[in-house]
Structure formats: structure tokens, C-alpha cells
């Protein structure tokens, strides 16, 4: 082998590696056949749309088509940043996310701890099962419940308010109520189901830790404080980071069912704005630009959250 010139040797190795690849492809040919529809699906439905991101840098006119429309560089972005809606939708998006963090985020954690404190297993499983139920009800139906219950003339909420001597309020036309309505429906719809992840990590806490705490004379409260909560901390941390990664992604599918022009001031978020621009106003270019801007911010947030998560807990959320 020593006599073989260097070049020829590496060529031989490359050849060997090449044929090794060929052998493995032939060996796994069925696996590759299986992958064909799967890969095609991702290519056509997830990756082909990316070429449409061109729209963000064009002044797209549907009747001119992609080829006939003008390129405008970053004009759409500049227009968006300087436009009247930029601050409004960013503010609303961040505020609703903040409200969610403060009001919605702790609820499933508290629920999981309280479930865990129930002595009667059958009762516990029953309550848990009931609490998951709203998760199976569609966005449209939940929106229907909200809209009808809050109706000023025939809704149960206003009927009860009037009975108690208050004036009826058309809540969904009052900008000041929108965010809190949105957050409350969100808690009702998701808290029970979200408690599962915390409850399952409670279950994995070593019972010897509780025994040790008991021997040290810790009562139930101290056990919650010194065993349960620390045991939950990694999960809470991961969920918090996931939440931060999703700050820019508010459930706009619900928003567009609940908001009205009169409440856009407090209700319009990035997602609903993208929808209104693109689908209702057929402003493809502007809508794509705003969506792209939001997508990049979200990606940066997620990647940062993931990096932090890896560093502190050695658990990757990806």
C-alpha cells in the first residue's frame, strides 16, 4: 500500500465509499420507495410555498401574475414599519401573550398540583377527564358560545347582569374587554388538557423523596413546597421557554371569529392582520411581507429559547 501514490489511494477510497453508498441504497430500496410519497408531500406542500416568499419583495398584482409584477425590494417592509398598523398589531400581540403568561400559564400547573393532592383516585380521574373535555370542542363552537353568551339582548351573561341590577353590556364591541375575554376563553378551552404534561411529570417524582420529607416532619404543604414544586421546575421551565418561543403566534383563528372592526384597536394581532390583508383585501405582497417578518422573529425566538433550554436543563425542546 505504501507504494500507491496518495491521489490514487484516496480515489480508491472514494470509489469504495461510492459503492458502499450504492450497496446501502440497493439494500434499503424498499425503505426509499416508502419515502417517495412522504418526501414528495413535504416538497410540494411545505417547501414549494417558500418560492412564494418572493411576493414579499414585489408589488404583486394578480392580473399581471408573478412574471408581470414589479420587484420593489424592501418597500413592503418599509411601508409596514412606517404604517399605522405596525405598532397596533405588535402591541396587541405582545400584550395578549403577556396576559397569557400571567393568567393562563399558571392555571394548568396549579390544576396538576391540586389533582395530585386528591386522595380518592376515582374522583381524581373523573375530574381530570371532565377538565380535558373543552379540548375536544372546536374553535368555531367555542367562539359561538362566547358570542352567544355575551349577546346584549339574549345572552345568558347579560341576562344575569340585568337580574342583578346592572346594565347589559355588549362586551364584544367594547375594545377594553376583548383581551380579557380572549384570555378567559383560552383558559376554559386549554387549562385542563395542558395540566396533563405537568401531572405526568408529577407522577415521575420519586416517592422516596416524599417519604424522606415526611420523616423530616414535613406536612402536605411543606411537601408541595419542597418536593412537588422543585420536581415540576424543569417542566415549567421548558413550557415557559416554549411559550416565549411562541410569543408572536397568538391563536388568530379564534381572534378572527371574535373580533369586529370596532375592536380591532385591541384585538388585531399579527396573524389576523396577515389574514385580513391577504385573504380579504387580496394584498398578497404586503400580507406575505408581514408574515415573513413575523416568521423570522418567531424563528429567532424559538432558536434562542431552545439554546437557553439546552444550556440550563440539558433538555432540548426541539
Amino acid at each position: 500500500m505504501r507504494d500507491v501514490p496518495h491521489k490514487a489511494r484516496s480515489a480508491a477510497m472514494r470509489k469504495a465509499r461510492g459503492s458502499e453508498l450504492l450497496v446501502s441504497i440497493v439494500r434499503d430500496k424498499y425503505l426509499y420507495f416508502m419515502l417517495i410519497p412522504f418526501v414528495l408531500y413535504y416538497a410540494i406542500f411545505y417547501y414549494m410555498p417558500f418560492q412564494g416568499l418572493r411576493l414579499a419583495f414585489m408589488d404583486y398584482k394578480p392580473f399581471l401574475g408573478m412574471a408581470g409584477s414589479k420587484w420593489v425590494g424592501f418597500d413592503n417592509f418599509a411601508e409596514f414599519f412606517n404604517g399605522p398598523y405596525f405598532t397596533r398589531i405588535i402591541r396587541n400581540t405582545l400584550l395578549i401573550s403577556l396576559y397569557n403568561m400571567i393568567f393562563s400559564f399558571p392555571v394548568p400547573i396549579i390544576l396538576a398540583i391540586l389533582f395530585n393532592e386528591l386522595r380518592n383516585r376515582k374522583f381524581r380521574v373523573f375530574v381530570q377527564t371532565i377538565s380535558y373535555m373543552p379540548h375536544f370542542i372546536s374553535t368555531v363552537v367555542i367562539a359561538g358560545l362566547v358570542v352567544n353568551f355575551l349577546s346584549p339582548s339574549t345572552g345568558i351573561v347579560n341576562i344575569l347582569l340585568e337580574k342583578m341590577g346592572f346594565d347589559s353590556v355588549y362586551f364584544l364591541t367594547k375594545p377594553e374587554y376583548f383581551r380579557i375575554i380572549f384570555v378567559i376563553q383560552g383558559i376554559w378551552a386549554t387549562a385542563g388538557f395542558s395540566s396533563i404534561i405537568y401531572f405526568s411529570s408529577l407522577m415521575s417524582i420519586d416517592s422516596s423523596q416524599y417519604e424522606a420529607a415526611m420523616i423530616d416532619g414535613a406536612g402536605r404543604f411543606k411537601q408541595i413546597l419542597h418536593v412537588t414544586l422543585p420536581g415540576l421546575l424543569p417542566t415549567i421551565g421548558i413550557m415557559l421557554l416554549l411559550g416565549i418561543g411562541n410569543i408572536m403566534n397568538i391563536g388568530y383563528e379564534m381572534i378572527i371569529l371574535l373580533y369586529q372592526p370596532i375592536t380591532y384597536e385591541t384585538a388585531d394581532v399579527v396573524g389576523s392582520f396577515v389574514y385580513r390583508l391577504g385573504i380579504q383585501n387580496a394584498d398578497y405582497s404586503m400580507s406575505t411581507a408581514v408574515g415573513l417578518f413575523n416568521g423570522i422573529i418567531s424563528l429567532v425566538l424559538v432558536l434562542t429559547a431552545n439554546r437557553i433550554s439546552k444550556k440550563i436543563s440539558e433538555v432540548s425542546i426541539m
Binding site: I44, V140, I279, G291
Partner: protein, 289 residues
């Protein structure tokens, strides 16, 4: 076990709290049900809060005779069943090869699958893609729209990875190819995971409205949720704008509630049976980290 007085009080307090949580969760649904078959005038004057008042099936009678409602119901059944089959097939065909560590190119493909969980082209490019493919206003468009959920691919791939390699090796010795190994060994072993994924896809399809709304203009093709948006969300806004308390507005309200009952009934019947699969899926996801 010895419990201090404080702990006992807390125990009772907790049970009361749980009962309240159940009440808050169930009352909206309970109210819809009792209102739907109560006397419309009683409902809109606030006589119905805890118990139904009067007994009128008029609202249901009207709903049952809404032809478009049943058409959209049929569409939803079709989209949910056919769509779930397509989704499941595609997910299996992806997850199985990607679970094989020996497969060349596995990492690259997995990377492309993962990317879609964090970054997508966005609403308009995706919409335009469907337009370019000629899939607007077609059933096949709805079926293919977000047919694969990357999260489910990863879930199933992880499950397949945990099947011991010796199963595959011994089948290979017996001359089985990858296709038979998948269908004869892996799929039967993965029934719990497959059931979970099936439920995810099915419930997701049944309850989704957004992309069907975007893709379909033809009212004969729309699924239930898209029609419901018109019947229970938008109608109510119109009702709200009409300040007069005419009889028609009052009946309208109970019709809306009856429509909601008919729309959520199948899911509420199925839910006790399918919820455990969801719980299991969350647990698997949680262990994966």
C-alpha cells in the same frame, strides 16, 4: 396516616374547588343543551339558568330540516375519515424509514421535517401554492391540506425506534423484506401509538375550519365547521345588531343553541373513549422531551 387539622381542611377545600372546576367546565355546555329545547321566550327573558323551562322541540325541528347543515355534516365525515387515512398512510411511510439508523440521508430528511415545525412559508404563499396547483375549491385540496403533521411523524418515529432491532433481524433471516417487516411486525406492535396518531388527525380534521374556509368557495363542499361559523358566530352578530326583541330574534337564539348541540354531539359521545389516547400521546411527547 396522620393528618393535621390544616391538611384536613385543605383536603375538603380541594374537593370543593374541584367541584367548582367541573361546574365551570360543564355549565356552558349544560346551558346550551337546556336552552336548546326550552321555550325560546323563556330563554331570552332569562327564565332558563339552572333548569329548562317549557319543552319545545321547534328549534331542533328547524335545525334538522336545514339541508345545507346535513350536507356539510356529510362533507365533514368524508374529510375526516378519508383525510385521516391519507394522513396516517403518509405518516407511517415517513416515520418507518426515518426510524432506521442505517438509512443514508435519514438525518437530512429528518432535518427538513423538523424545520416545518418552526418555520413555514406563511399564509399567502401557502394559499398561492394551492392556487397554482389548481386545488382551490376541490375536495382533494382539503384532504391534502396539512395532511402530515411533523409532530406526529416524530412521535411515531420515536415509537418505531424503540422496537428492538432483533425483531427485524430475525425476520430478515427468514427472508422478509422491509415492506413485510413494516406491515407484519412493526404496525401490529405499534397499535397504541397508531391509535393516538389516528385520534390526533381525526379530531384535528373534524374541528378545523380555517384552511377549509380559505380553500373552498363552493358552499356544496364546505365542512361543518365552516358552515357553523356562519350559523352560530356570524348570525349572532347580526342578531346582536338588531336591538329589537322581536320573536324572530328570540327563536333565532334557541336555533343557534340547537345547532351547537347537534354539531358537538358526536365529539362529546366519542370523547370519553378517545381522550385516553390523547393523554398517552402527551405523555410520550413529554418523555421524549
Amino acid at each position: 396516616m396522620n393528618r393535621t387539622k390544616g391538611e384536613k381542611i385543605f383536603g375538603w377545600f380541594n374537593i370543593i374547588l374541584m367541584l367548582m372546576i367541573m361546574l365551570v367546565t360543564l355549565y356552558p355546555l349544560y346551558y346550551v343543551v337546556i336552552a336548546s329545547f326550552s321555550d325560546p321566550v323563556a330563554v331570552s327573558t332569562g327564565k332558563v339558568t339552572i333548569l329548562p323551562s317549557g319543552f319545545a322541540l321547534d328549534s331542533f325541528n328547524k335545525v334538522v330540516h336545514m339541508e345545507n347543515l346535513w350536507k356539510s355534516y356529510g362533507n365533514t365525515v368524508f374529510y375526516s375519515v378519508a383525510g385521516t387515512i391519507i394522513s396516517l398512510a403518509l405518516t407511517i411511510l415517513g416515520a418507518y424509514p426515518l426510524s432506521k439508523k442505517r438509512l443514508k440521508g435519514r438525518k437530512l430528511i429528518t432535518f427538513f421535517v423538523l424545520v416545518t415545525m418552526w418555520f413555514s412559508a406563511g399564509m399567502m404563499p401557502t394559499y398561492q401554492n394551492f392556487q397554482n396547483l389548481g386545488l382551490l375549491d376541490t375536495r382533494i385540496g382539503v384532504l391534502l391540506c396539512f395532511a402530515i403533521d411533523s409532530f406526529n411523524v416524530i412521535l411515531l418515529r420515536t415509537f418505531f425506534e424503540n422496537v428492538p432491532d432483533s425483531m427485524e433481524e430475525s425476520a430478515k433471516v427468514d427472508g422478509a423484506n422491509d415492506w413485510t417487516i413494516l406491515t407484519r411486525i412493526y404496525l401490529p406492535l405499534s397499535v397504541p401509538a397508531l391509535a393516538t396518531i389516528t385520534m390526533y388527525y381525526f379530531v384535528g380534521r373534524w374541528n378545523s375550519y380555517f384552511w377549509s374556509m380559505l380553500l373552498l368557495k363552493d358552499q356544496d363542499l364546505v365542512p361543518l365547521q365552516v358552515l357553523l361559523k356562519k350559523l352560530i358566530v356570524e348570525v349572532s352578530y347580526n342578531v346582536n345588531e338588531a336591538v329589537d326583541m322581536s320573536a324572530s330574534v328570540m327563536t333565532e337564539q334557541t336555533i343557534v343553541y340547537a345547532t351547537i348541540v347537534i354539531a358537538v354531539l358526536p365529539m362529546l359521545i366519542l370523547y370519553p373513549f378517545i381522550q385516553k389516547f390523547f393523554v398517552k400521546g402527551i405523555m410520550v411527547g413529554a418523555i421524549k422531551g
